[in-house]
């Protein structure tokens, strides 16, 4: 059997952030959604499952109990099992401690995995760090910025990477970890049968003891970094706004572009 560990994250809906009077983020009543990049990770894993017989996808997520619903949605899409890594002691983990915890869960629940699939970024933190941290802790190779795969068999896969200056094609054997970028396709929707099937699935949960981790290794205590202050971003630009007729708007635009040395002004 070909075993895929898919790592996903629940994130606050960052398009809908509201501010309190003290310029802190209002956290109450903010919807949690699956990190958009992880949807592509899921799609990537499902595409492999379609091409490679006898593939099993186990979804891992670290988060509160409510994250079970997200796992069930992913099972409804075609993933096979869900693992919720959850413990109050995990709270406040940075990418190092998160990587440590998730890699321990994979080692415990799915030690004979072939491939780990992560989204390239999470939209809340956008560090792109947890995937490579997991790879380092498990001592396996990583391929980041993956756009697609071409040939795959149970021993190896050929992947295309989208880098800032071009497209790279690499081949790797398993085990390996990949971080997946968004792609142009429309992610699939769950079928009625899928949703029914998911309702009856048991989600496995792991806490700190199950993973043989100590309190100093997890959560805020196990995190080398910590936030010393958080503040609202303030602009240095002077926010002048003009409501003019068309010709005056064009003249203004010409003047401003000319000041900056644009041609044809």
């Amino acid at each position: 059997m070909f075993k895929i560990a898919l790592c996903v994250k629940q994130v606050p809906d960052t398009t809908d952030i509201k501010w309190t009077e003290n310029n802190t983020i209002q956290r109450e009543g903010v919807e949690s959604v699956i990190n958009p990049y992880d949807i592509y990770g899921c799609e990537f894993a499902l595409k492999i499952k379609e091409q490679l017989n006898d593939t099993e996808i186990t979804v891992f997520t670290m988060g509160p109990n409510q994250a079970q619903d997200m796992l069930k949605k992913l099972i409804a899409l075609g993933c096979d099992k869900g693992v919720l890594i959850s413990d109050k002691k995990f709270a406040g983990a940075d990418t190092y401690a998160t990587g440590k915890t998730i890699s321990s869960a994979i080692k415990t629940v799915l030690p004979d995995f072939d491939l780990i699939v992560c989204g390239q970024f999470a939209v809340d933190g956008d560090t792109a760090q947890t995937g490579p941290c997991i790879a380092e802790f498990l001592n396996i190779p990583q391929v980041t910025y993956v756009k697609d795969f071409s040939e795959i068999d149970k021993k190896s896969v050929t992947l295309t990477r989208e880098l800032e200056d071009g497209i790279e094609t690499v081949k790797t054997t398993f085990p390996a970890l990949i971080c997946v970028l968004q792609d142009d396709f429309e992610p699939r929707r769950a079928t009625i049968n899928g949703i029914k099937h998911a309702q009856n699935q048991q989600i496995k949960t792991c806490n700190m003891e199950d993973l043989n981790l100590a309190p100093e290794q997890v959560g805020l205590k196990g995190s080398p970094t910590y936030v010393s202050k958080a503040f609202r971003n303030q602009s240095a630009h002077n926010a002048q706004k003009f409501e003019l007729n068309l010709q005056d708007s064009i003249n203004l635009l010409k003047e401003k572009i000319a000041n900056a040395g644009g041609k044809d002004a």
Binding site: Q129, Q182, K229, L246, D264
Partner: protein
């Protein structure tokens, strides 16, 4: 906790496919000089993965830059970037040299390398910083956008080295001539002979863009958002950009709905730019976008929604219809 053994600032100098040192290195170096001063003039070192045969060229690149030492690794296996080899060698070097700060450019390579190095060294890493400073306790205070850019967080690190990545174009380079004697030190690479690296590079195709764009070096950028409605809107934008000598950029929603390629996306999950003039056309001004362009010297916004948040950060906001203003501009 503070460990007196660690001292100095180390910077990773990425060698590009065209065999020069990535410009983000010089931006990090400029900031490193400022940090070094605040720490009492600590040593600044750089790391390159480069063959000895090319060393003379690179020596030229480091001349008068104020780098005390350059450590280099030369091994045929290191010709192409490999996360396994590079991260292992960098970890070993850090264990030996013990810098208090390790800075890496947030290129795709840097973002692949840095987290792996930090995990292996059991230390913290702050990604995509927009500012680096030294606090009153002598710690690296790394500020980065979070929550889709809506919040800024200043992050400290308990362990050493304190690691940070910074994207290209975030820090400015001030030309200063340092009369420093730079020592080049070759480091042993035998440790990688026992490592297994199954990732094999088959092919690399350099991107040839139809929208010819060099957003990193553009003095004028004309960027479009969902207000451009469709591909026709981006064609209009391109025509306008050509007319005034600018490059074209796009917001994430515009890229996600297929109006523009990912390579020209500006914002938190795209590029960071700092042109002389940034002209935002039909862009509402979501913070995920503005974090990537607010360092532009002068921002012009054109939007028909007078309440669009983009007007809060524009130096000159023009309330109006892009589809009227741009064609008319090009006519006369």
């Amino acid at each position: 906790m503070p460990n007196q053994d660690n001292s100095g600032i180390m910077i990773y100098a990425q060698i590009t496919n065209e065999n020069y040192i990535h410009t983000v290195f010089y931006e990090l170096l400029d900031k490193a000089h400022e940090l070094s001063q605040k720490l009492g003039n600590v040593e600044i070192s750089a790391v390159i993965f480069a063959p000895e045969s090319k060393l003379e060229e690179y020596k030229e690149s480091f001349r008068n830059m104020g780098v005390n030492r350059v450590y280099y690794f030369d091994n045929p296996k290191l010709e192409n970037y490999s996360s396994i080899y590079y991260s292992k060698l960098l970890q070993e070097l850090v264990k030996e040299v013990k810098p208090e700060i390790l800075l890496i450019g947030a290129t795709t390579q840097g973002r692949d390398l840095a987290p792996r190095v930090s995990a292996g060294l059991h230390t913290g890493l702050t990604a995509d910083c927009i500012n680096l400073d030294i606090n009153e306790k002598g710690q690296l205070a790394a500020t980065r956008p979070t929550f889709g850019g809506q919040l800024m967080a200043t992050i400290l690190c308990k362990n050493y080295p304190q690691m940070a990545t910074v994207r290209p174009n975030v820090f400015k380079v001030h030309s200063v001539n340092y009369e420093t004697n730079t020592e080049f030190i070759k480091k042993d690479t035998s440790i990688i002979e026992n490592l297994y690296n199954p990732v094999e590079i088959k092919e690399f195709k350099k991107t040839t863009q139809t929208l010819i764009n060099d957003l990193d070096n553009a003095e004028i950028i004309v960027a479009g958002g969902m207000g451009l409605k469709n591909e026709k809107g981006f064609e209009l934008l391109k025509e306008f950009a050509d007319k005034i000598g600018g490059s074209v950029g796009a917001t994430r929603p515009a890229v996600e709905s297929g109006l523009a390629p990912h390579s020209i996306q500006i914002g938190q999950t795209g590029k960071t730019v700092r042109p002389k003039v940034y002209i935002a056309c039909g862009i509402s001004g979501a913070i995920q976008h503005t974090v990537g362009m607010e360092n532009s010297e002068y921002i012009i916004a054109i939007n028909n929604d007078a309440d669009a948040p983009i007007f809060d950060i524009a130096d000159c906001g023009i309330v109006g219809d892009v589809f009227e203003i741009l064609p008319e501009y090009m006519k006369n």
